[in-house]
């Protein structure tokens, strides 16, 4: 699909483009084709798997949305963000951290859970024993995103604000999780940051993060509601479970955490127990006394009469 949709274009040009589209299509009522992007550099560790997933999902979405859906699988963030930037992509399934980097134009619609989990932990792995502290000044392979904001994800989310990744490590960008592991094996780095699910058996885990959102479905063209509504009939597409809708501001909080970091810890108040009611304070106690039965029957007298 070549329809330009850059916002910078003038309205006249936009009108002309729309006209061109309607001319190009033989049946003017036929729905516009949509494109699904898939960028899962850290969630899926195999290019073929990503491609197959993209195709399978596109088919399901086509059926569900009632419009043609094409699929594009991306191996690198730059390609993916370029396609997004050019408006080629209508919606995409991406790694959570990548969804944040897409910025406000990406509306997170649903999680793509795996094995029932919408979140995953990240691990700093190494071939050697030691601690994260010991890795000061060492190289750490990191799947590349937008570049400038990559360290924020590490510092703010993975390290919880307790360590500045950029100061502590020499970050070595790699395109995906496979290459991160390979980099480590090839001694191109002393450490690598990968999701726990992708830690090879022979690697040492120096650190595990808290749970972080995994793959998410994002809308890129303001059609979030329609997309959201179509999800119920999509169902599970291997290797993921069925999409689960994102509740409230959950993803926004994650985005904020990535971009701004966790708030500074402040001393907390000791909770004082709530004051409870006391019955005698509110109720006069004598009115709660026992209700005695009547004793009139005990006044009964015998029918005996005096006689002489």
């Amino acid at each position: 699909m070549k329809t330009p949709s850059l916002v910078a274009r003038g309205s006249l040009l936009l009108a002309a483009a729309l006209f061109a589209v309607s001319v190009a299509s033989p049946a003017s009522a036929a729905p516009k084709k949509a494109t699904l992007g898939v960028f899962l550099a850290t969630t899926l560790s195999d290019g073929q798997e990503r491609f197959q997933y993209a195709e399978a999902l596109a088919q399901k979405l086509e059926a569900s949305l009632g419009r043609p859906v094409g699929a594009k699988s991306f191996g690198r963030y730059e390609d993916f963000s370029k396609a997004v930037g050019e408006g080629q992509i209508d919606f995409a399934v991406v790694d959570g951290w990548a969804a944040v980097q897409l910025g406000a134009r990406a509306e997170a619609v649903a999680y793509a859970p795996r094995a029932g989990e919408t979140q995953q932990r990240w691990a700093i792995i190494s071939l050697q024993k030691g601690t994260v502290k010991d890795l000061a000044g060492k190289r750490m392979a990191l799947v590349k995103g937008a570049g400038s904001s990559d360290p924020k994800f590490v510092s703010h989310v993975v390290l919880g604000g307790d360590l500045d990744a950029q100061k502590h490590f020499k970050l070595v960008p790699v395109p995906n999780v496979e290459s991160a592991v390979k980099m480590l094996e090839a001694k191109g780095a002393e450490a690598a940051l990968v999701p726990v699910a992708h830690v090879p058996r022979d690697m040492r885990v120096l650190f595990k993060s808290t749970r972080v959102p995994g793959a998410v479905l994002v809308d890129l063209k303001g059609g979030g509601d329609a997309l959201s509504q179509s999800l119920s009939s999509v169902g599970a597409v291997a290797p993921f479970d069925a999409f689960t809708r994102i509740q409230g501001r959950e993803f926004e909080d994650f985005r904020k955490l990535v971009t701004q970091g966790p708030p500074r810890r402040q001393p907390v108040f000791a909770d004082t127990p709530d004051l409870r009611v006391e019955t005698p304070v509110l109720v006069q106690s004598e009115s709660l006394g026992p209700a005695l039965p009547p004793f009139t029957d005990d006044l009964a007298v015998s029918a005996e009469q005096p006689d002489d």
């Binding site: 979140q119 402040q266 001393p267 209700a291 007298v301 002489d308």
Partner: protein
């Protein structure tokens, strides 16, 4: 009640006495100075003739004596004809006429002379004797008493006469006096007959109900003589009076064999058999008695036996024979009336007795019987009329009042009955029947009064009744009335007395339980209820005792046990009612207790149960349940419902609410809602007039509001406001470590980390969050991850709740990053990857 029919003992005594009185008097001649007139001369002659007549009598020449007496009588008559006021002539006439048994003449001729000379004993003696012989006792007794008072040996016989009379009228004391006087005055030659006097003395003592004296007299009569039937009969009567009925019967059974011809033992024995319900043996003796002679007493006895055999017609025949033999005999008439009534021939009975009354001039007993027969026939008006007559005839006797009491009792006129029995008691204090029936009439009236909401009057009646009749049933009635009028202390006193009486039942223990419960002593109440339950095997009664015990348990705080008991009230309807009346109240109470512990779910469960059970007509209780529900809503965080519920349940203000309950409840809900300012405003208003028990809680709410205010300000970053509120809270409770701790948080935020750290360190053992904050300080301000990990480990070790997950995450992360192992030396991040996501 006093029996209508005189005891046959008295009948036989009277009959025997009449026979005695019919005998010739032992009159003695008297010396007179010589007369001067013709009349005096004749009188003198007459006296000489009289002397010789007595001499002839002494020799045993009755014929000559009689002639001489007649001669003397003639002379005295002539003399008296000439000088009608001659005392000497009249006195001589009296002696001669009496000797000839012409008592009528004596009475007629002497009365006018005696009227002129009322102090003259020579006239009084023969005249009194004549009256006595003529059975004109009303005239005889004063005259004879006058003679007796002079104590002259010549007039010895008057003591005997008087004693006989007093025995006849059952005046034991006077009889004893006369008989003892007789024994003192009698000449030695008459001592041989003393035994007769002793027997009479015995009878007099029996009338006085002095068994010991009677026994002594009869034993004296018996002493030194062959066994005497009369003395032995007397002893049998003494035994009976002493309550030794079996011994008395044994003695009489011996006497009837030993003295087969003597009537009285048979009669007495038959009466004993009748009283014991041994009708066949009574019949045997009565029949044997009849064979000795067809006497009124024998027929009376046989009639009574027939009545006991439920043969009233045959009884009537016997009683009518009594009247044939002795027309007008009171006891016979009464007995006929009774026999007629026993045949349900009420009208005949009434007519018979009415005519007896008319012809006989009406004796007390006859009137009494007539009235009672009317009562039994249902003619109460006439009964009262007739019995009023009895009162008029004998106002100083209890009899008439007792009868009227019975009449009024029969018609349920308790006021009059009570008055009647009261009068009876005044006439004869200690009259057992009067006491008993007065108490019962009072109990009847009390019941009626209690039924018309006059409880105080009922209590007064029953107090009086219980004073008269210290029995368990009366104590129960009084206790019940006191309970119903909520005089628990008084009820307790009475019932604690009652349970020491013989014949006490589960019921009195139950009432005592309620009295103690109402008086605020549930522990003692529970003991009484338990005893009540143990005193009976009846499931219904045990259920009632159990219901009472449940109420005591509630007061003792054993609410769960009580609810269980009340829920399974058991088979008794009364117990079910007690449960019904109390279970909702108890549940509301427990709900409130649960609320005090903050357990809204449990409170709701109890209140749901109250809704299912309903509160019946107790509108106040329904409102209290609604109030408790509203408070529960606040505890659950459903504040709008809580506020609305409080308003509904307190409009209009129910009795159980304090004047400031609404303000306090609303203030509490607003506090729970975090609306500090409006809550404080209501609290301040409520505090202007605190009710008993409130000030402490009001102080607590003031402190809680300050703490809440501080927490809200702290959360919004307003340290100044937070600090102000905390300082105010601390001023009221300087030792509150939580407030001290939180104030340190504010200090830290305001840059005074030094004092904050000091406070937290001091409070670490008592306030776990202090460790958390020490860790935060270490990590955030001083960048000392190892210290932070230690502090948070301490925090987590204290087991403290809500923030544990977060703090554990922080701690684990620092440990992972810096390789800070746990105390056990295990570094969680050092292992190989697990398959966990």
């Amino acid at each position: 009640m006093r029996p209508f029919i005189r005891s046959p003992r008295r009948v036989s005594t009277a009959l025997a006495l009449l026979a005695t009185l019919a005998g010739p008097p032992a009159a003695l001649a008297q010396f007179r100075p010589p007369p001067a007139t013709e009349a005096q001369r004749m009188t003198e002659q007459g006296e000489q003739v009289l002397v010789s007549a007595n001499a002839a009598l002494a020799k045993g020449d009755k014929k000559e004596a009689e002639e001489k007496f007649k001669k003397a009588l003639q002379l005295f008559e002539q003399s008296l004809a000439q000088e009608p006021q001659s005392v000497f002539a009249a006195a001589g006439l009296g002696s001669a006429a009496n000797a000839l048994q012409d008592f009528q003449r004596t009475a007629t001729r002497l009365a006018p002379v005696f009227a002129q000379n009322p102090r003259d004993l020579s006239l009084a003696y023969p005249l009194g004797t004549a009256y006595f012989k003529l059975r004109r006792f009303q005239e005889a007794v004063p005259v004879l008493e006058q003679v007796a008072a002079a104590d002259q040996p010549d007039h010895l016989i008057v003591h005997y006469y008087l004693a006989s009379y007093y025995l006849y009228v059952q005046d034991g004391n006077r009889a004893v006096t006369r008989l003892q006087r007789y024994l003192v005055l009698r000449p030695e030659k008459l001592a041989g007959n003393d035994f007769q006097i002793h027997e009479l003395l015995g009878k007099a003592h029996l009338i006085r109900r002095d068994a010991a004296a009677a026994r002594a007299s009869f034993e004296k009569a018996q002493a030194g003589r062959a066994e005497s039937a009369t003395a032995q009969i007397g002893l049998a009567a003494v035994l009976e009076m002493e309550g030794k009925v079996a011994e008395s019967r044994a003695l009489l059974e011996r006497l009837v064999t030993k003295f087969p011809q003597v009537a009285e033992p048979k009669e007495r024995l038959a009466r004993l058999y009748l009283a014991a319900g041994d009708v066949p043996r009574a019949d045997l003796q009565a029949t044997a008695l009849m064979k000795l002679g067809s006497t009124p007493a024998a027929h009376l006895l046989l009639g009574d036996v027939r009545l006991a055999q439920k043969q009233p017609a045959q009884a009537e025949a016997e009683f009518r024979k009594v009247l044939e033999l002795q027309p007008g005999l009171l006891m016979g008439q009464i007995a006929v009336g009774k026999a007629l009534q026993a045949q349900a021939r009420h009208e005949e009975a009434i007519q018979f007795l009415e005519s007896a009354v008319k012809s006989g001039g009406g004796s007390l007993e006859l009137w009494a019987t007539l009235g009672s027969v009317n009562r039994r026939a249902g003619r109460y008006q006439r009964a009262v009329e007739v019995h009023r007559r009895v009162v008029e005839m004998a106002p100083r006797q209890a009899l008439g009042h007792m009868l009227l009491g019975a009449d009024h009792f029969a018609t349920g006129q308790w006021d009059q009955a009570i008055e009647d029995y009261g009068s009876a008691l005044q006439a004869e204090p200690g009259h057992p029947g009067a006491k008993q029936w007065l108490a019962r009439a009072l109990a009847h009236r009390a019941r009626d009064r209690a039924g018309t909401q006059r409880l105080e009057d009922a209590v007064r009646d029953l107090r009086r009744a219980y004073d008269l009749d210290r029995s368990v049933p009366m104590a129960r009635r009084l206790g019940a009335a006191l309970l119903d009028s909520h005089q628990f202390a008084e009820a307790r006193k009475v019932l604690e007395g009652a349970v020491t009486l013989p014949g006490v039942s589960w019921r009195e223990h139950l009432l005592l339980g309620y009295a103690r419960l109402g008086g605020g002593d549930p522990q003692a109440a529970l003991a009484a209820f338990t005893q009540s339950g143990e005193a009976t095997q009846e499931p219904d009664q045990r259920a009632e005792a159990s219901a009472g015990a449940a109420l005591a348990e509630v007061e003792l705080g054993q609410v769960d046990a009580a609810v269980q008991r009340l829920t399974d009230a058991g088979p008794s309807k009364t117990a079910a009612k007690v449960a019904e009346a109390n279970l909702p109240r108890v549940l509301v109470r427990r709900a409130l207790a649960k609320l005090e512990a903050g357990d809204a779910a449990a409170a709701n469960r109890d209140l749901d149960a109250v809704d299912r059970l309903g509160t019946g007509k107790r509108a106040d209780l329904a409102k209290l349940a609604a109030f408790a529900r509203a408070l529960t809503r606040a505890e659950e965080g459903r504040f709008a419902e809580a506020t609305a519920g409080i308003k509904r349940s307190l409009t209009p203000a129910p009795e159980w609410a304090w004047p400031n309950t609404r303000a306090l409840a609303d203030a509490w809900v607003l506090y729970r809602q975090g609306k500090v300012a409006p809550s404080r405003k209501l609290l301040t208003a409520a505090q202007r007039k605190p009710m008993p028990g409130q000030p402490k809680w009001m102080g607590n709410l003031t402190g809680a509001l300050l703490r809440r205010e501080a927490a809200l300000a702290y959360a919004s970053g307003n340290m100044k406001a937070s600090q102000k509120a905390l300082k105010a809270a601390l001023a009221a409770t300087p030792d509150d470590v939580l407030v001290q701790h939180n104030l340190a948080c504010v200090d830290w935020r305001q840059g005074d980390s030094g004092s904050a750290l000091a406070t937290w360190k001091r409070l670490e053992t008592s306030v776990p969050v202090a460790s958390l904050n020490l860790g935060i300080d270490a990590q955030e301000r001083r960048h000392e991850p190892a210290e932070a990990v230690d502090a948070w480990r301490r925090y987590l070790a204290s087991g403290a709740g809500l923030r544990a997950a977060q703090v554990r995450e922080w701690k684990d992360r620092l440990q992972g990053l810096y390789g800070l192992g746990d105390a056990q030396g295990v570094t969680p991040a050092a292992g190989v990857a697990e398959e966990t996501p």
